[in-house]
Protein backbone atom coordinates (compact mmCIF):
# COMPACT_ATOMS: atom_id res chain seq x y z
CA UNK A 1 0.00 0.00 0.00
CA UNK A 2 1.10 3.56 -0.69
CA UNK A 3 2.69 5.47 2.13
CA UNK A 4 0.03 7.13 4.30
CA UNK A 5 -0.74 10.83 3.98
CA UNK A 6 -2.49 10.70 7.33
CA UNK A 7 -1.66 8.39 10.18
CA UNK A 8 -4.10 8.59 13.08
CA UNK A 9 -3.44 6.86 16.41
CA UNK A 10 -5.66 6.73 19.47
CA UNK A 11 -7.49 9.87 18.39
CA UNK A 12 -9.85 11.32 20.94
CA UNK A 13 -11.79 14.55 20.65
CA UNK A 14 -13.86 16.05 23.45
CA UNK A 15 -16.22 18.97 22.89
CA UNK A 16 -18.28 21.07 25.30
CA UNK A 17 -21.69 19.46 25.86
CA UNK A 18 -24.02 22.45 25.66
CA UNK A 19 -27.04 20.40 26.76
CA UNK A 20 -25.36 20.03 30.18
CA UNK A 21 -24.00 23.56 30.46
CA UNK A 22 -24.76 25.15 33.84
CA UNK A 23 -26.25 28.63 33.86
CA UNK A 24 -22.91 30.09 34.92
CA UNK A 25 -19.61 28.52 34.02
CA UNK A 26 -18.29 26.20 31.40
CA UNK A 27 -20.12 23.30 29.77
CA UNK A 28 -18.66 19.93 30.75
CA UNK A 29 -16.76 18.08 28.02
CA UNK A 30 -18.28 15.14 26.19
CA UNK A 31 -16.02 12.68 24.41
CA UNK A 32 -17.14 12.59 20.77
CA UNK A 33 -14.31 10.48 19.33
CA UNK A 34 -13.27 7.65 21.60
CA UNK A 35 -9.91 6.46 20.31
CA UNK A 36 -9.54 5.99 16.54
CA UNK A 37 -6.68 4.31 14.67
CA UNK A 38 -6.40 4.38 10.90
CA UNK A 39 -4.26 5.48 7.95
CA UNK A 40 -5.27 7.37 4.83
CA UNK A 41 -3.00 6.21 1.99
CA UNK A 42 -1.74 8.90 -0.40
CA UNK A 43 -3.89 9.33 -3.50
CA UNK A 44 -6.81 7.33 -2.15
CA UNK A 45 -10.45 8.21 -1.61
CA UNK A 46 -11.73 7.05 1.75
CA UNK A 47 -15.40 6.97 2.66
CA UNK A 48 -16.25 7.89 6.24
CA UNK A 49 -19.77 6.65 6.91
CA UNK A 50 -22.07 6.77 9.88
CA UNK A 51 -25.46 7.88 11.10
CA UNK A 52 -26.12 11.08 13.03
CA UNK A 53 -24.08 11.23 16.23
CA UNK A 54 -21.46 8.81 14.92
CA UNK A 55 -18.74 11.48 15.05
CA UNK A 56 -17.93 11.39 11.33
CA UNK A 57 -18.00 15.17 10.90
CA UNK A 58 -15.99 15.68 14.09
CA UNK A 59 -13.39 13.29 12.70
CA UNK A 60 -13.26 15.28 9.47
CA UNK A 61 -12.82 18.55 11.33
CA UNK A 62 -10.03 17.05 13.43
CA UNK A 63 -8.19 15.83 10.30
CA UNK A 64 -8.09 19.32 8.79
CA UNK A 65 -7.28 20.64 12.29
CA UNK A 66 -10.33 22.80 12.75
CA UNK A 67 -10.48 20.91 16.06
CA UNK A 68 -7.65 19.97 18.38
CA UNK A 69 -7.47 16.36 19.59
CA UNK A 70 -7.81 15.83 23.35
CA UNK A 71 -5.66 12.70 23.14
CA UNK A 72 -3.82 10.65 20.54
CA UNK A 73 -2.06 11.88 17.45
CA UNK A 74 -2.66 12.92 13.87
CA UNK A 75 0.38 12.70 11.60
CA UNK A 76 0.30 14.43 8.24
CA UNK A 77 3.15 13.45 5.91
CA UNK A 78 4.98 12.01 8.87
CA UNK A 79 4.68 15.17 10.98
CA UNK A 80 2.57 15.27 14.13
CA UNK A 81 0.06 18.11 13.63
CA UNK A 82 -2.18 17.28 16.60
CA UNK A 83 -1.25 20.28 18.71
CA UNK A 84 0.18 22.82 16.28
CA UNK A 85 -0.78 26.42 17.00
CA UNK A 86 -2.88 28.46 14.57
CA UNK A 87 0.28 30.21 13.37
CA UNK A 88 2.09 26.91 12.83
CA UNK A 89 -0.94 25.56 10.97
CA UNK A 90 -1.16 28.50 8.57
CA UNK A 91 1.33 27.12 6.01
CA UNK A 92 -0.54 23.79 6.13
CA UNK A 93 -4.00 25.26 5.49
CA UNK A 94 -3.39 25.33 1.76
CA UNK A 95 -2.81 21.57 1.77
CA UNK A 96 -5.90 20.75 3.82
CA UNK A 97 -9.04 21.90 2.03
CA UNK A 98 -12.74 21.36 2.65
CA UNK A 99 -15.84 21.13 0.50
CA UNK A 100 -18.98 21.78 2.51
CA UNK A 101 -22.42 20.22 2.54
CA UNK A 102 -24.39 23.33 1.84
CA UNK A 103 -22.75 25.51 -0.80
CA UNK A 104 -25.53 28.09 -0.33
CA UNK A 105 -24.28 28.98 3.13
CA UNK A 106 -20.58 28.48 2.47
CA UNK A 107 -20.45 30.93 -0.46
CA UNK A 108 -20.56 34.65 0.34
CA UNK A 109 -23.75 36.10 -1.22
CA UNK A 110 -22.16 39.50 -1.92
CA UNK A 111 -19.08 38.23 -3.71
CA UNK A 112 -18.86 37.19 -7.32
CA UNK A 113 -17.82 33.64 -8.07
CA UNK A 114 -14.50 35.11 -9.22
CA UNK A 115 -13.71 36.66 -5.85
CA UNK A 116 -14.95 33.57 -4.00
CA UNK A 117 -12.45 31.39 -5.85
CA UNK A 118 -9.74 34.08 -5.83
CA UNK A 119 -9.82 34.85 -2.08
CA UNK A 120 -8.04 31.68 -0.85
CA UNK A 121 -5.56 31.99 -3.73
CA UNK A 122 -4.61 35.49 -2.56
CA UNK A 123 -4.38 34.44 1.08
CA UNK A 124 -2.03 31.63 0.18
CA UNK A 125 0.41 33.66 -1.88
CA UNK A 126 -0.99 32.64 -5.25
CA UNK A 127 -2.25 36.14 -6.07
CA UNK A 128 -0.29 36.38 -9.31
CA UNK A 129 -2.02 35.28 -12.54
CA UNK A 130 -5.36 35.33 -10.64
CA UNK A 131 -7.54 35.51 -13.76
CA UNK A 132 -5.76 32.58 -15.27
CA UNK A 133 -5.97 30.48 -12.11
CA UNK A 134 -9.69 31.18 -11.61
CA UNK A 135 -10.41 30.43 -15.26
CA UNK A 136 -8.57 27.14 -14.89
CA UNK A 137 -10.49 26.29 -11.70
CA UNK A 138 -13.85 26.94 -13.41
CA UNK A 139 -12.87 24.90 -16.41
CA UNK A 140 -11.78 22.02 -14.22
CA UNK A 141 -15.28 21.68 -12.74
CA UNK A 142 -17.07 22.19 -16.04
CA UNK A 143 -18.45 25.68 -15.47
CA UNK A 144 -18.49 28.26 -18.32
CA UNK A 145 -16.07 31.17 -17.97
CA UNK A 146 -18.84 33.79 -17.74
CA UNK A 147 -19.83 32.32 -14.34
CA UNK A 148 -16.92 34.27 -12.85
CA UNK A 149 -19.03 37.43 -12.77
CA UNK A 150 -22.12 35.79 -11.26
CA UNK A 151 -23.37 35.59 -7.68
CA UNK A 152 -24.33 32.47 -5.78
CA UNK A 153 -28.09 33.09 -6.03
CA UNK A 154 -27.85 32.99 -9.82
CA UNK A 155 -26.57 29.40 -9.66
CA UNK A 156 -28.39 26.08 -9.28
CA UNK A 157 -27.51 23.76 -6.38
CA UNK A 158 -25.25 21.63 -8.56
CA UNK A 159 -23.47 24.65 -9.99
CA UNK A 160 -22.88 26.00 -6.48
CA UNK A 161 -21.36 22.71 -5.42
CA UNK A 162 -19.09 22.89 -8.48
CA UNK A 163 -17.92 26.31 -7.26
CA UNK A 164 -17.21 24.78 -3.84
CA UNK A 165 -15.09 22.11 -5.50
CA UNK A 166 -13.35 24.66 -7.75
CA UNK A 167 -12.45 26.81 -4.74
CA UNK A 168 -11.02 23.87 -2.78
CA UNK A 169 -9.04 22.47 -5.70
CA UNK A 170 -7.68 25.82 -6.95
CA UNK A 171 -5.02 25.60 -4.23
CA UNK A 172 -3.84 22.17 -5.44
CA UNK A 173 -4.25 20.78 -1.91
CA UNK A 174 -2.80 17.46 -0.74
CA UNK A 175 -5.98 16.53 1.11
CA UNK A 176 -9.62 17.37 0.47
CA UNK A 177 -12.33 16.73 3.01
CA UNK A 178 -15.78 16.47 1.39
CA UNK A 179 -18.45 16.59 4.09
CA UNK A 180 -21.86 15.35 2.86
CA UNK A 181 -21.37 17.26 -0.36
CA UNK A 182 -24.22 15.59 -2.26
CA UNK A 183 -26.82 15.15 0.46
CA UNK A 184 -28.77 18.30 -0.42
CA UNK A 185 -28.80 17.63 -4.16
CA UNK A 186 -31.29 15.99 -6.51
CA UNK A 187 -30.28 12.52 -7.74
CA UNK A 188 -29.47 13.68 -11.25
CA UNK A 189 -27.23 16.46 -9.91
CA UNK A 190 -25.79 14.14 -7.26
CA UNK A 191 -24.63 11.75 -9.98
CA UNK A 192 -22.96 14.62 -11.86
CA UNK A 193 -21.09 15.89 -8.80
CA UNK A 194 -19.93 12.41 -7.78
CA UNK A 195 -18.66 11.55 -11.25
CA UNK A 196 -16.89 14.94 -11.37
CA UNK A 197 -15.18 14.32 -8.03
CA UNK A 198 -14.30 10.78 -9.10
CA UNK A 199 -12.67 12.11 -12.28
CA UNK A 200 -10.79 14.97 -10.56
CA UNK A 201 -9.51 12.75 -7.75
CA UNK A 202 -8.08 10.34 -10.31
CA UNK A 203 -6.63 13.08 -12.57
CA UNK A 204 -5.06 15.12 -9.78
CA UNK A 205 -4.04 12.17 -7.60
CA UNK A 206 -5.97 13.67 -4.68
CA UNK A 207 -6.30 12.16 -1.26
CA UNK A 208 -9.94 12.58 -0.30
CA UNK A 209 -11.94 12.01 2.87
CA UNK A 210 -15.52 11.56 1.75
CA UNK A 211 -17.95 11.88 4.64
CA UNK A 212 -21.45 10.56 4.02
CA UNK A 213 -24.44 9.15 5.84
CA UNK A 214 -25.27 7.18 2.72
CA UNK A 215 -23.34 4.00 1.96
CA UNK A 216 -24.93 3.72 -1.47
CA UNK A 217 -22.91 6.62 -2.91
CA UNK A 218 -19.63 5.33 -1.44
CA UNK A 219 -18.96 2.27 -3.52
CA UNK A 220 -18.21 3.92 -6.86
CA UNK A 221 -16.04 6.67 -5.45
CA UNK A 222 -14.04 5.22 -2.58
CA UNK A 223 -11.22 2.68 -2.39
CA UNK A 224 -11.76 2.08 1.30
CA UNK A 225 -14.45 2.73 3.84
CA UNK A 226 -14.49 3.54 7.54
CA UNK A 227 -17.82 2.79 9.21
CA UNK A 228 -18.36 4.76 12.42
CA UNK A 229 -20.82 4.53 15.26
CA UNK A 230 -20.95 6.52 18.49
CA UNK A 231 -17.41 7.81 18.22
CA UNK A 232 -15.78 4.50 17.37
CA UNK A 233 -14.75 2.69 14.20
CA UNK A 234 -17.04 -0.27 13.69
CA UNK A 235 -15.34 -1.60 10.60
CA UNK A 236 -12.70 -0.33 8.21
CA UNK A 237 -11.75 -2.14 5.04
CA UNK A 238 -11.34 -2.04 1.28
CA UNK A 239 -14.59 -1.00 -0.39
CA UNK A 240 -15.41 -4.19 -2.27
CA UNK A 241 -14.64 -6.33 0.76
CA UNK A 242 -16.92 -4.19 2.90
CA UNK A 243 -19.84 -4.35 0.49
CA UNK A 244 -19.43 -7.99 -0.55
CA UNK A 245 -18.57 -9.39 2.83
CA UNK A 246 -19.40 -7.01 5.70
CA UNK A 247 -18.01 -8.42 8.93
CA UNK A 248 -19.99 -6.45 11.50
CA UNK A 249 -23.72 -6.72 12.14
CA UNK A 250 -23.99 -2.94 12.19
CA UNK A 251 -22.52 -2.65 8.69
CA UNK A 252 -24.92 -5.33 7.46
CA UNK A 253 -27.85 -3.47 9.05
CA UNK A 254 -26.78 -0.23 7.40
CA UNK A 255 -26.61 -1.92 4.00
CA UNK A 256 -29.93 -3.69 4.50
CA UNK A 257 -31.62 -0.42 5.43
CA UNK A 258 -30.84 1.23 2.08
CA UNK A 259 -33.96 1.11 -0.09
CA UNK A 260 -32.65 0.05 -3.50
CA UNK A 261 -34.69 1.19 -6.50
CA UNK A 262 -35.90 -2.36 -7.10
CA UNK A 263 -39.14 -4.14 -6.25
CA UNK A 264 -38.73 -6.31 -3.16
CA UNK A 265 -41.96 -7.30 -1.43
CA UNK A 266 -40.12 -8.66 1.61
CA UNK A 267 -38.18 -5.49 2.37
CA UNK A 268 -40.91 -3.94 4.53
CA UNK A 269 -41.93 -7.15 6.28
CA UNK A 270 -41.05 -7.15 9.95
CA UNK A 271 -37.93 -9.16 10.71
CA UNK A 272 -38.65 -12.79 11.45
CA UNK A 273 -37.81 -13.60 15.07
CA UNK A 274 -34.39 -15.19 15.22
Amino acid sequence: MAEPLFSVRGLKVALPDMTRKPLIGRAPLAEILKGLDFDLPKGSVTGIVGESGSGKSTLGRALVRLLEPSAGSISFEGRDISHLSEAELRPLRRDLQMIFQDPMSSLNPRHTIFSIIAAPLRQNGLGDRLKERVAEALQRVGLPQNFASRYRHELSGGQRQRVGIARALALAPKFVLADEIVSGLDVSTQAQILTLLEKLAAEMGLTVGFISHDLSVIRRLCQQVIVMREGRIVEASATDALFDNPKETYTRDLLAAIPLPEIDADWLRPKAPA
Binding site: E51, G157, V187, Q190, A191, S216, R220, P259
Partner: protein, 292 residues
Protein backbone atom coordinates in the same frame (compact mmCIF):
# COMPACT_ATOMS: atom_id res chain seq x y z
CA UNK B 1 -66.40 2.24 -3.25
CA UNK B 2 -65.61 5.53 -4.91
CA UNK B 3 -62.13 6.71 -5.76
CA UNK B 4 -60.46 8.08 -2.64
CA UNK B 5 -58.72 10.97 -4.37
CA UNK B 6 -59.32 12.03 -7.93
CA UNK B 7 -57.40 14.95 -9.42
CA UNK B 8 -58.43 15.94 -12.94
CA UNK B 9 -56.51 18.36 -15.13
CA UNK B 10 -55.26 20.49 -12.25
CA UNK B 11 -53.30 23.58 -13.26
CA UNK B 12 -51.95 26.26 -10.98
CA UNK B 13 -49.96 29.41 -11.56
CA UNK B 14 -48.10 32.18 -9.79
CA UNK B 15 -49.25 35.82 -9.91
CA UNK B 16 -46.82 36.49 -12.78
CA UNK B 17 -48.64 33.89 -14.89
CA UNK B 18 -45.94 31.25 -14.57
CA UNK B 19 -47.51 27.81 -14.61
CA UNK B 20 -46.45 25.59 -11.70
CA UNK B 21 -48.85 22.67 -12.19
CA UNK B 22 -49.63 21.55 -15.73
CA UNK B 23 -52.93 19.67 -16.14
CA UNK B 24 -52.08 17.15 -13.44
CA UNK B 25 -54.38 14.12 -13.35
CA UNK B 26 -54.01 11.29 -10.89
CA UNK B 27 -56.13 9.13 -8.66
CA UNK B 28 -55.65 7.18 -5.47
CA UNK B 29 -57.89 4.17 -4.85
CA UNK B 30 -59.04 3.33 -1.32
CA UNK B 31 -56.29 1.64 0.65
CA UNK B 32 -53.65 2.25 -2.01
CA UNK B 33 -50.27 3.99 -1.80
CA UNK B 34 -49.49 6.26 -4.72
CA UNK B 35 -46.02 7.77 -4.84
CA UNK B 36 -45.42 11.21 -6.33
CA UNK B 37 -41.77 11.28 -7.29
CA UNK B 38 -39.68 14.03 -8.81
CA UNK B 39 -36.74 16.33 -8.24
CA UNK B 40 -36.90 19.75 -6.64
CA UNK B 41 -39.31 22.05 -8.42
CA UNK B 42 -41.33 19.15 -9.83
CA UNK B 43 -44.46 20.26 -7.99
CA UNK B 44 -44.91 17.10 -5.91
CA UNK B 45 -45.25 18.91 -2.58
CA UNK B 46 -47.53 21.46 -4.18
CA UNK B 47 -49.98 18.75 -5.23
CA UNK B 48 -50.04 17.50 -1.64
CA UNK B 49 -50.71 21.03 -0.41
CA UNK B 50 -53.47 21.53 -2.97
CA UNK B 51 -55.22 18.38 -1.72
CA UNK B 52 -55.01 19.57 1.88
CA UNK B 53 -56.13 23.08 0.93
CA UNK B 54 -52.97 24.69 2.26
CA UNK B 55 -51.40 26.14 -0.89
CA UNK B 56 -49.42 29.34 -0.37
CA UNK B 57 -51.48 32.43 -1.19
CA UNK B 58 -49.32 33.18 -4.22
CA UNK B 59 -50.32 29.92 -5.94
CA UNK B 60 -53.69 30.04 -7.65
CA UNK B 61 -55.53 27.01 -9.00
CA UNK B 62 -56.81 28.09 -12.39
CA UNK B 63 -58.16 24.88 -13.84
CA UNK B 64 -59.18 21.37 -12.94
CA UNK B 65 -61.07 19.46 -10.23
CA UNK B 66 -60.19 17.64 -7.05
CA UNK B 67 -62.58 15.06 -5.64
CA UNK B 68 -62.26 13.36 -2.27
CA UNK B 69 -64.44 10.23 -2.14
CA UNK B 70 -66.56 11.61 -4.95
CA UNK B 71 -67.11 15.02 -3.39
CA UNK B 72 -65.95 17.86 -5.59
CA UNK B 73 -63.96 20.28 -3.45
CA UNK B 74 -64.55 23.06 -5.98
CA UNK B 75 -68.32 22.91 -5.43
CA UNK B 76 -68.13 23.34 -1.67
CA UNK B 77 -67.92 26.67 0.10
CA UNK B 78 -64.74 27.38 2.07
CA UNK B 79 -66.12 26.17 5.41
CA UNK B 80 -67.58 22.93 4.06
CA UNK B 81 -64.35 22.28 2.20
CA UNK B 82 -62.26 22.71 5.35
CA UNK B 83 -64.58 20.41 7.28
CA UNK B 84 -64.40 17.73 4.61
CA UNK B 85 -60.60 17.94 4.30
CA UNK B 86 -60.24 17.96 8.10
CA UNK B 87 -62.40 14.87 8.54
CA UNK B 88 -61.09 12.72 5.70
CA UNK B 89 -57.43 13.60 5.32
CA UNK B 90 -54.30 13.97 7.41
CA UNK B 91 -50.67 14.91 6.88
CA UNK B 92 -47.42 13.24 7.82
CA UNK B 93 -44.92 16.07 7.36
CA UNK B 94 -41.24 15.95 6.44
CA UNK B 95 -39.82 17.60 9.49
CA UNK B 96 -41.52 16.55 12.71
CA UNK B 97 -39.69 19.20 14.71
CA UNK B 98 -41.22 22.12 12.84
CA UNK B 99 -44.63 20.43 12.71
CA UNK B 100 -44.82 20.23 16.50
CA UNK B 101 -45.21 23.19 18.83
CA UNK B 102 -41.94 23.33 20.79
CA UNK B 103 -43.52 24.84 23.90
CA UNK B 104 -46.31 22.29 24.43
CA UNK B 105 -46.18 18.71 25.63
CA UNK B 106 -46.80 15.93 23.09
CA UNK B 107 -50.02 14.64 24.72
CA UNK B 108 -52.24 17.71 24.33
CA UNK B 109 -50.84 18.37 20.86
CA UNK B 110 -51.95 14.93 19.76
CA UNK B 111 -55.44 15.07 21.25
CA UNK B 112 -56.05 18.66 20.09
CA UNK B 113 -56.94 17.74 16.56
CA UNK B 114 -59.37 15.04 17.65
CA UNK B 115 -61.07 17.27 20.19
CA UNK B 116 -61.11 20.57 18.36
CA UNK B 117 -61.56 19.55 14.74
CA UNK B 118 -63.52 16.34 15.12
CA UNK B 119 -65.32 17.27 18.33
CA UNK B 120 -64.37 14.11 20.25
CA UNK B 121 -64.65 14.01 24.00
CA UNK B 122 -61.28 14.33 25.77
CA UNK B 123 -61.44 10.85 27.21
CA UNK B 124 -62.14 9.19 23.87
CA UNK B 125 -59.31 11.15 22.25
CA UNK B 126 -56.93 10.14 25.01
CA UNK B 127 -57.76 6.43 24.71
CA UNK B 128 -57.40 6.62 20.94
CA UNK B 129 -54.00 8.30 21.13
CA UNK B 130 -52.67 5.65 23.51
CA UNK B 131 -53.93 2.93 21.18
CA UNK B 132 -52.10 4.52 18.26
CA UNK B 133 -48.88 5.05 20.24
CA UNK B 134 -48.97 1.32 20.86
CA UNK B 135 -49.43 0.66 17.14
CA UNK B 136 -46.36 2.75 16.31
CA UNK B 137 -44.48 0.68 18.90
CA UNK B 138 -43.91 3.37 21.47
CA UNK B 139 -43.39 1.28 24.58
CA UNK B 140 -43.43 4.06 27.18
CA UNK B 141 -46.44 6.20 26.18
CA UNK B 142 -46.59 8.02 29.55
CA UNK B 143 -43.13 9.46 29.14
CA UNK B 144 -43.71 10.39 25.50
CA UNK B 145 -47.05 12.10 26.18
CA UNK B 146 -45.45 14.22 28.89
CA UNK B 147 -42.39 15.11 26.80
CA UNK B 148 -41.69 18.25 24.87
CA UNK B 149 -40.77 17.72 21.21
CA UNK B 150 -37.06 18.49 21.74
CA UNK B 151 -36.80 15.71 24.33
CA UNK B 152 -37.55 13.05 21.70
CA UNK B 153 -35.29 11.71 18.95
CA UNK B 154 -36.14 12.37 15.30
CA UNK B 155 -37.47 8.85 14.84
CA UNK B 156 -39.63 9.12 17.97
CA UNK B 157 -41.08 12.44 16.83
CA UNK B 158 -41.95 10.94 13.47
CA UNK B 159 -43.67 8.01 15.21
CA UNK B 160 -45.73 10.48 17.21
CA UNK B 161 -46.82 12.28 14.04
CA UNK B 162 -47.68 9.01 12.30
CA UNK B 163 -49.82 8.05 15.28
CA UNK B 164 -51.49 11.48 15.21
CA UNK B 165 -52.15 11.20 11.47
CA UNK B 166 -53.85 7.80 11.74
CA UNK B 167 -55.71 8.60 14.98
CA UNK B 168 -58.75 10.18 13.39
CA UNK B 169 -59.10 7.35 10.82
CA UNK B 170 -58.64 9.57 7.77
CA UNK B 171 -59.43 8.03 4.38
CA UNK B 172 -56.37 9.66 2.83
CA UNK B 173 -52.99 10.61 4.22
CA UNK B 174 -50.59 12.93 2.45
CA UNK B 175 -47.08 11.87 3.48
CA UNK B 176 -44.65 14.61 2.42
CA UNK B 177 -41.09 13.22 2.40
CA UNK B 178 -41.74 11.71 5.85
CA UNK B 179 -38.35 9.97 6.11
CA UNK B 180 -36.03 12.38 4.31
CA UNK B 181 -34.58 13.88 7.49
CA UNK B 182 -34.00 10.51 9.17
CA UNK B 183 -31.03 8.17 9.40
CA UNK B 184 -31.28 5.23 7.03
CA UNK B 185 -31.89 2.58 9.71
CA UNK B 186 -34.59 4.77 11.30
CA UNK B 187 -36.06 5.42 7.86
CA UNK B 188 -36.56 1.71 7.39
CA UNK B 189 -38.39 1.36 10.72
CA UNK B 190 -40.62 4.33 9.91
CA UNK B 191 -41.44 3.06 6.40
CA UNK B 192 -42.32 -0.30 7.93
CA UNK B 193 -44.65 1.38 10.41
CA UNK B 194 -46.36 3.46 7.77
CA UNK B 195 -46.86 0.37 5.59
CA UNK B 196 -48.16 -1.63 8.55
CA UNK B 197 -50.65 1.01 9.72
CA UNK B 198 -51.69 1.74 6.17
CA UNK B 199 -52.62 -1.94 5.64
CA UNK B 200 -54.27 -2.35 9.04
CA UNK B 201 -56.41 0.77 8.67
CA UNK B 202 -57.01 0.52 4.94
CA UNK B 203 -55.87 4.12 4.48
CA UNK B 204 -54.94 5.53 1.10
CA UNK B 205 -51.65 7.42 0.97
CA UNK B 206 -50.33 10.02 -1.40
CA UNK B 207 -46.61 9.56 -0.72
CA UNK B 208 -44.41 12.46 -1.83
CA UNK B 209 -40.72 11.58 -2.19
CA UNK B 210 -37.62 12.32 -4.23
CA UNK B 211 -36.21 8.82 -3.64
CA UNK B 212 -36.97 6.11 -6.18
CA UNK B 213 -35.72 3.54 -3.67
CA UNK B 214 -38.51 4.56 -1.29
CA UNK B 215 -41.00 4.52 -4.18
CA UNK B 216 -40.05 0.93 -5.01
CA UNK B 217 -40.60 -0.24 -1.45
CA UNK B 218 -43.71 1.62 -0.29
CA UNK B 219 -46.02 2.24 -3.25
CA UNK B 220 -48.29 0.29 -5.59
CA UNK B 221 -48.75 3.13 -8.08
CA UNK B 222 -46.50 5.99 -9.02
CA UNK B 223 -46.64 9.31 -10.86
CA UNK B 224 -43.35 10.76 -12.06
CA UNK B 225 -43.35 14.56 -12.15
CA UNK B 226 -41.19 17.11 -13.87
CA UNK B 227 -41.86 20.87 -13.79
CA UNK B 228 -45.41 20.38 -12.54
CA UNK B 229 -46.29 17.84 -15.24
CA UNK B 230 -46.92 14.12 -14.87
CA UNK B 231 -44.49 12.64 -17.38
CA UNK B 232 -45.23 9.01 -16.54
CA UNK B 233 -47.86 7.16 -14.55
CA UNK B 234 -47.73 3.43 -13.86
CA UNK B 235 -48.01 0.57 -11.45
CA UNK B 236 -44.81 0.69 -9.43
CA UNK B 237 -43.67 -2.80 -10.45
CA UNK B 238 -44.27 -1.87 -14.09
CA UNK B 239 -42.37 1.40 -13.76
CA UNK B 240 -39.21 -0.37 -12.61
CA UNK B 241 -39.62 -3.31 -15.01
CA UNK B 242 -40.21 -1.19 -18.10
CA UNK B 243 -39.94 2.58 -17.61
CA UNK B 244 -41.48 4.30 -20.65
CA UNK B 245 -40.40 7.92 -20.44
CA UNK B 246 -36.73 8.82 -21.09
CA UNK B 247 -36.74 10.97 -17.92
CA UNK B 248 -37.94 8.06 -15.79
CA UNK B 249 -35.21 5.87 -17.25
CA UNK B 250 -32.63 8.60 -16.57
CA UNK B 251 -33.82 9.03 -12.97
CA UNK B 252 -33.59 5.31 -12.30
CA UNK B 253 -30.08 5.20 -13.82
CA UNK B 254 -28.98 8.20 -11.70
CA UNK B 255 -30.15 6.65 -8.42
CA UNK B 256 -27.20 5.04 -6.61
CA UNK B 257 -27.24 1.26 -6.21
CA UNK B 258 -24.41 -0.15 -4.17
CA UNK B 259 -25.13 -3.58 -5.63
CA UNK B 260 -24.33 -2.32 -9.11
CA UNK B 261 -22.12 0.76 -8.79
CA UNK B 262 -21.22 1.12 -12.44
CA UNK B 263 -24.75 0.75 -13.82
CA UNK B 264 -26.01 3.43 -11.43
CA UNK B 265 -25.10 7.06 -10.63
CA UNK B 266 -25.36 7.95 -14.32
CA UNK B 267 -25.68 11.72 -14.88
CA UNK B 268 -28.89 12.64 -16.73
CA UNK B 269 -28.17 13.11 -20.43
CA UNK B 270 -28.55 16.57 -21.96
CA UNK B 271 -30.87 15.16 -24.66
CA UNK B 272 -33.29 13.96 -21.96
CA UNK B 273 -33.46 17.45 -20.47
CA UNK B 274 -33.86 19.02 -23.92
CA UNK B 275 -36.72 16.59 -24.59
CA UNK B 276 -38.40 17.60 -21.32
CA UNK B 277 -38.06 21.29 -22.12
CA UNK B 278 -39.72 20.68 -25.49
CA UNK B 279 -42.48 18.67 -23.83
CA UNK B 280 -43.19 21.44 -21.32
CA UNK B 281 -43.19 24.06 -24.10
CA UNK B 282 -45.68 21.95 -26.09
CA UNK B 283 -47.92 21.61 -23.02
CA UNK B 284 -47.89 25.39 -22.58
CA UNK B 285 -48.42 26.25 -26.24
CA UNK B 286 -52.14 26.88 -25.97
CA UNK B 287 -52.02 27.99 -22.36
CA UNK B 288 -53.41 31.42 -21.59
CA UNK B 289 -52.36 32.57 -18.11
CA UNK B 290 -55.20 33.14 -15.70
CA UNK B 291 -57.95 31.89 -17.99
CA UNK B 292 -59.38 29.65 -15.27
Amino acid sequence: MSVCLDIRGLSAELPNGQRVLRSVSLSVQPGEVRALVGESGAGKTMIGKAVLGVLPKSVRIVEGDMLIEGEDLGRLDAKARRTLIGARTALIPQDPLTALNPSRRIGPQMTDRLVRILGWRGERADTRIRQLLDEVQIRDPERVLKSYPHELSGGMRQRVLIAAAFAAEPRLIVADEPTTALDVTVQKQILRLIAQLQRDHGTAILFVTHDLGVVAKISQKVSVLYAGKVVEEAETAQLFAAPQHPYTRALIAATPRYTDPYASLKPVDESVLAGLTAEIAAADKDWRPGHG
